[in-house]
């Protein structure tokens, strides 16, 4: 082999790249969600599976149609896995026995109005899954708060009939979530020391009322730790967010247990874990610096606690994340790392002639 007569392509450095690509990152995130999802299927039966499938399919269709309209080839861009992840996260936040059209409307909303209208991946201001969840919650409050008691998971075909709305669900099978119970009782003037929670409202193992992402809190948290270990996310957002939920909750509960829910219940309920590890850590809609991420996480956590405690809705993770998403550009503008050799203000650092050590 001789080097004579070779003509080579010349490009700018670097000539080496770390292996990770966007689709690998997305698929790793999806993989960490699998245990929690499978547990949810086991808990709530096949309707949860059908709704999950329909939501993801709708998210992918919405993405593909928009890309085609924009004159781009949808297939390679669908393979980046971002629409799959969006649909998956949305499905985990829905009531498991919600009718099929909730999944369709939500999935389409997430990738079209939540993401593609902003210019597609990397350009959306709000978390697509959360904006779709909020749109559904505001538009269809009955279906979006219809939580089924995890008992007697129906078979595959019966489940499909439930999802398609062809089989009525007896009222006895539905119940409020723990946060919902607490909110209703406080509104009725019953304090938390006298409220009577049904057995399925809270359960440390997770056999309780809620969405797939709420019941499997431990598995979601384990998935989050896996993300940390794989260095896909850093600790800044999750730790800040969970701390900002837990600390005010602990203070409130210590001051007035009749009015404030304790911090462990806060962390184990609603979307706290899913939000802290999978929603608020969304690259696109969170700040890009470490310090900014801490501020963002603290904001998400504190707003979640405030909405849960004083707001009209029993759960506040989705609202809190969207509000902080809106602040992300401002955080990125205000909180910047100090440049080497410059002051925090960006001026060249003053000369200080040091003595020999």
């Amino acid at each position: 082999m001789s080097a004579q007569g070779m003509i080579l392509q010349t490009v700018a450095s670097p000539h080496a790249r770390a292996g990770e690509s966007v689709s690998v990152v997305m698929l790793k995130v999806v993989a960490t969600l699998v245990p929690a999802t499978v547990y949810g299927f086991w808990l709530f039966g096949s309707p949860a599976f059908w709704l999950w499938l329909i939501t993801i399919a709708a998210a992918l269709v919405g993405e593909a149609v928009c890309l085609r309209w924009a004159g781009r080839d949808p297939l390679p861009l669908l393979k980046d896995g971002s629409a799959l992840l969006t649909g998956w996260l949305l499905a985990l936040s829905l009531p498991p026995w919600a009718p099929w059209w909730i999944g369709v409307v939500g999935g389409l909303f997430a990738t079209t109005l939540g993401k593609q209208v902003f210019g597609g991946l990397g350009n959306n201001l709000f978390n697509p899954a959360m904006i779709a969840r909020i749109a559904l919650l505001v538009s269809f409050p009955v279906q979006m708060t219809y939580w089924v008691v995890p008992a007697g998971a129906p078979g595959l075909f019966d489940g499909l009939l439930i999802t398609l709305g062809q089989m009525p669900v007896p009222d006895a099978m539905s119940s409020a979530t723990l946060l919902g119970h607490a909110k209703t009782d406080l509104a009725r003037g019953v304090d938390l020391l006298h409220t009577e929670l049904p057995g399925h409202a809270f359960n440390w193992v997770g056999a309780r009322v809620g969405s797939l992402g709420e019941t499997s809190t431990w598995l979601i948290a384990a998935g989050g730790v896996a993300l940390l270990a794989m260095r896909i996310i850093t600790w800044h957002v999750p730790v800040a967010m969970l701390a900002a939920i837990a600390i005010p909750a602990a203070i409130g509960h210590a001051a007035d247990p009749a009015r404030y829910i304790d911090w462990t219940t806060h962390l184990m309920s609603g979307g706290a874990m899913l939000g802290a590890f999978f929603i608020a850590t969304d690259y696109v809609t969170s700040p890009s610096t470490r310090a900014g991420q801490v501020v963002f996480g603290l904001g998400c956590g504190l707003l979640t606690w405030v909405i849960r405690t004083y707001g009209g809705y029993p759960e506040g993770v989705a609202f809190a994340v969207l509000l902080m998403n809106a602040l992300t550009p401002a955080i990125d503008r205000l909180i910047k790392p100090r440049v080497y050799g410059r002051t925090f203000g960006g001026k060249p650092a003053p000369l200080q002639k040091g003595k020999s050590k």
Partner: protein
């Protein structure tokens, strides 16, 4: 911040899983047999190109001066072996553009006859710092870490600014490269002696030698060589790219930061590469000018990768022929994979600053089409300067060069950490190079416009002044004429009066 960063306190940069330095680094140093010809470039340094002092057809000997330095920041060039000058003209420069630059081509005769060397000196410490600097200048020594700033003016600057500490760069943080490693293993005594000479030339009282902790053999050899010299400290530093960047190494070794836009000398330190120190030792003690150096030849396409002592100006195709190629390389790189420059072909000569030639296979370069930025912030965590590469790139894409400048484009080292970690494979470094060029072009344009404006203003002022002067002259003449007429009339009147 991960565990490793917590442990070693270095929060920036990247740490490739496989640095590809071994096995090449462990292969004993080979000496390249003389090729048939050498193309020795005239501009191998920062500053003015050297001026040829030989003519075509003239016979030159090893070590003979063939081109002299021009101006204060420049370096002379010497013949690496004996032969006849066959051409003085343009050859392809080691630059992606493939544009030519001037070089002296020597057809070697293979006798390798030595010419009159520079005067060797047994005790350089009896010389004055200025005399040592002169010897460094005469030997054509430039920064061999790749920056290629002439070493003599640098030492003089250090003396003038009274630097107290020399930082000796044995970092060699680029993957694949091991020429400094190889040098420190086999010639540690030369490096340490060079450091001592340089301390004498700059007036520094202390030297810190930073060596990445992935080079235990080099560290041990250097420790042995530095025994008995209390002023020279060998300091292992964490293996983290870009540790070999002067600003980063100064920060890790001294805890101080070099202010933006200032030189390291402004905080009392001067950074020199280990290879430069060895070259200074050879120049001052043995009178050997800089005409050869150790080059790492590495990469997946190379049959026998390793370190080669090669004459400066050897064509890369001859160098590759010596180590052999297993397959056709997909890319040829001069320097390391992170900051090295891609070569258009192999008929390009090496230069003084060239520490490595890489023949990379298609697998090694992994060219992937860029996709949309997902704002993951990996680039922010990797940037050793604390910049926001994603924001700089977004501004540059939008043509907002002034905003990119305001956010620290000038502080960018082009080290490539951001592009290395980017999961979307955004060509970040390329856009920074482009923007720096654009900013420079605009600054030149502005300077030109201001100069033209100045000229136009001067012209207007001159025309106005001339018009004013003309008007004044005319008025003066008119006044004179009126005075004369009045005088004439008055004298006529008196004459008439007298006659009356």
């Amino acid at each position: 911040m991960g565990l490793r960063e917590l442990l070693n306190g270095v929060r920036w940069g990247v740490h490739p899983h496989d640095d590809h330095k071994r096995p090449a680094a462990d292969v004993p140093l080979r000496v390249m047999p003389l090729p048939e010809r050498l193309c020795v470039p005239l501009l191998q340094h920062v500053g003015a190109p050297a001026l040829p002092v030989v003519a075509v057809g003239e016979r030159v000997l090893r070590g003979q001066l063939i081109a002299a330095a021009q101006g204060s920041v420049s370096a002379p060039v010497h013949a690496p072996s004996s032969g006849v000058i066959s051409a003085i003209g343009e050859v392809t420069a080691p630059h992606p553009s493939g544009l030519p630059f001037a070089a002296i081509t020597i057809a070697l005769d293979g006798k390798d006859e030595a010419g009159d060397a520079l005067a060797p000196h047994a005790d350089p410490f009896s010389l004055s710092p200025a005399e040592v600097s002169q010897r460094i200048a005469d030997a054509g020594i430039v920064g061999l870490g790749g920056a290629t700033f002439p070493s003599a003016p640098k030492a003089q600057l250090g003396l003038k600014l009274a630097v107290h500490t020399l930082i000796i760069n044995g970092g060699e943080c680029e993957p694949y490269l091991s020429s400094d490693d190889s040098l420190m293993r086999v010639r540690a005594d030369e490096v340490i002696d060079g450091v001592r000479i340089l301390m004498h030339a700059t007036g520094a009282t202390k030297a810190l030698v930073g060596i990445e902790d992935n080079k235990p053999e080099a560290t041990a050899a250097m420790r042995r060589a530095a025994e008995g010299f209390a002023a020279i400290e060998i300091r292992p530093v964490p293996a983290r790219y870009p540790m070999g960047s002067d600003r980063q190494l100064v920060q890790v070794l001294t805890g101080k930061e070099v202010p933006s836009g200032a030189r390291t000398a402004s905080i009392g330190v001067l950074v020199n590469n280990v290879s430069t120190c060895a070259a200074i030792h050879r120049a001052v003690r043995a009178g050997e000018p800089l005409y050869r150096r150790i080059v790492t030849v590495n990469g997946g396409a190379v049959a026998q990768p390793g370190n080669v002592l090669a004459p400066i100006g050897v064509l890369i195709e001859d160098l590759l022929a010596f180590v052999g190629l297993k397959e056709a390389p997909a890319r040829l790189v001069m320097g390391g994979p992170m900051m090295g420059i891609a070569l258009p072909h192999a008929q390009v000569p090496t230069v003084k600053g060239c520490g490595g030639i890489l023949a990379l296979t298609a697998n090694e370069i992994t060219d992937v089409a860029p996709s949309a930025c997902i704002r993951c912030g990996s680039c922010v965590k990797a940037c050793p300067m604390g910049l926001l590469p994603l924001e700089l790139s977004a501004h540059i894409q939008a043509g907002e060069y002034d905003k990119a400048e305001a956010k620290g484009l000038d502080d960018c080292l082009a080290c490539g950490c951001c592009a290395y970690v980017c999961p979307s494979h955004v060509p970040l470094v390329q856009s920074f190079y482009h923007a720096k060029g654009e900013v420079w072009k605009r600054a030149q344009q502005k300077k030109r416009t201001e100069f033209t404006k100045g000229l136009a203003q001067a012209r207007t002022a001159r025309l106005e002044r001339e018009a004013r002067e003309r008007a004044e002259a005319a008025a003066r003449r008119k006044a004179e004429r009126a005075a004369q007429q009045a005088a004439a009339a008055a004298s006529a009147n008196t004459a008439g009066g007298a006659s009356a």
